[in-house]
Symmetry: C2
DNA sequence: ACCGTATGCCAACACCTGTTGACACGCCAT
DNA sequence: ATGGCGTGTCAACAGGTGTTGGCATACGGT
């Protein structure tokens, strides 16, 4: 699914590498970093555990490769300013409803310092950059991005990790209706004092 | 600190039990369930690992005892309806700024199914009950409670677990100012659609 | 003073973990 | 055809894990 690097020749082991990565993402997503064992991942990919080591160096290296993630935020400058909240919630829900990578990262970030730092980077860099594209006071963008992250990650945490019944049962569109105004205010609202 | 059960005689080992629990809460809070080892907890409490087993049966039993938690929500019926959001955010921040038990539970809930279920119970029972005290449509209380939980847990997750810089640096009162309106709308706002 | 029992420590078990090295097979260019 | 190298398997290591049983000791009620 991800475009290969065109510079190097395709390796014969690419299918194996992909199988490992897919199994790793699934295990990390459901079990978290420490409970996901290399042996279990290798078994899912139907290869020997030592192959994982050869191709990814270590468990940390495997996780680093499996948890590569891009929020793929749309260009917010071309969105009607009043629709920002709605667009963002819808985008995030769609983004990780179909990709377990972020769930894996979310679970792992709770216990693994490296995963936490990666999550920090994603939401600091990508989200802050997106928030900065439209013109609110630059002094407040970091805080606005942090608040958006808090509501977005809280949504993900309660829906996909803790699985709070009301958050699991509510349809995506109802969630958008409820939560969009929150993001809208965090993004464009006047700061309280 | 917690009042002892008055029915049974105080045991000679109560101080040891308390030391174990305190060490366990700290380890679970900083390391999560799987990384927190019984040996490390015992070392912190300066006793033998086997004592932990005798007093709490197993690692799961120890966690169950250490992660006992009460949100201690105030009686919301006596709060001015317009102050509900402010009161709640302030309460939650104060509640776990001084008690690492909830951070322990939060970290553990990501990877340990039992911890996740306990967290589900806490926020389903205690929070839903509190939300139900004032008179909105009973059909929407569960959803309102879930939304409140999503923002509150998102705040905790970004501030105490991932440690997103903007969320760590912002003062509690500024957080209250920003987030209170969100909870206010989740609690008393008219349902969208 | 005495004896049962609670408290504590020590050593060990059985298992699982990430990780490593040696060995076999098969593809591919020469 | 024949090398070399990429791919894969097997077995093992060293360390850490939760957990268990046995043994010393000191308390507390009688």
């Amino acid at each position: 699914m991800t475009s290969p690097a065109p510079s190097t020749h395709p390796r014969r082991s690419d299918v194996t590498r992909a199988a490992i990565l897919r199994a790793a993402r699934e295990r990390f997503a459901t079990d978290g970093y420490e409970r996901a064992t290399i042996r279990a991942i290798a078994a899912d990919a139907q290869i020997d555990p030592s192959m994982v080591m050869r191709y990814y160096g270590s468990k940390e290296g495997l996780f680093a490769a499996a948890a590569e993630f891009d929020l793929r935020l749309p260009d917010l400058s071309s969105v009607p300013p009043d629709d920002l909240g709605k667009v963002l919630v819808r985008h995030f829900l769609a983004r990780w409803e179909g990709d377990e990578t972020l769930v894996a990262l979310l679970r792992a970030a709770s216990t693994n310092p490296g995963a936490a730092e990666r999550m920090r980077g994603i939401f600091t860099d990508q989200l802050t950059a997106a928030v900065a594209t439209f013109g609110t006071d630059p002094a407040t963008t970091a805080r606005r991005a942090g608040l958006v992250a808090s509501q977005i990650l809280g949504l993900a945490f309660t829906r996909y990790i803790v699985r709070l019944p009301p958050m699991v049962d509510t349809t995506p569109e109802d969630l958008v209706s409820w939560i969009a105004p929150t993001l809208q205010r965090y993004l464009t609202g006047t700061p309280p004092d």
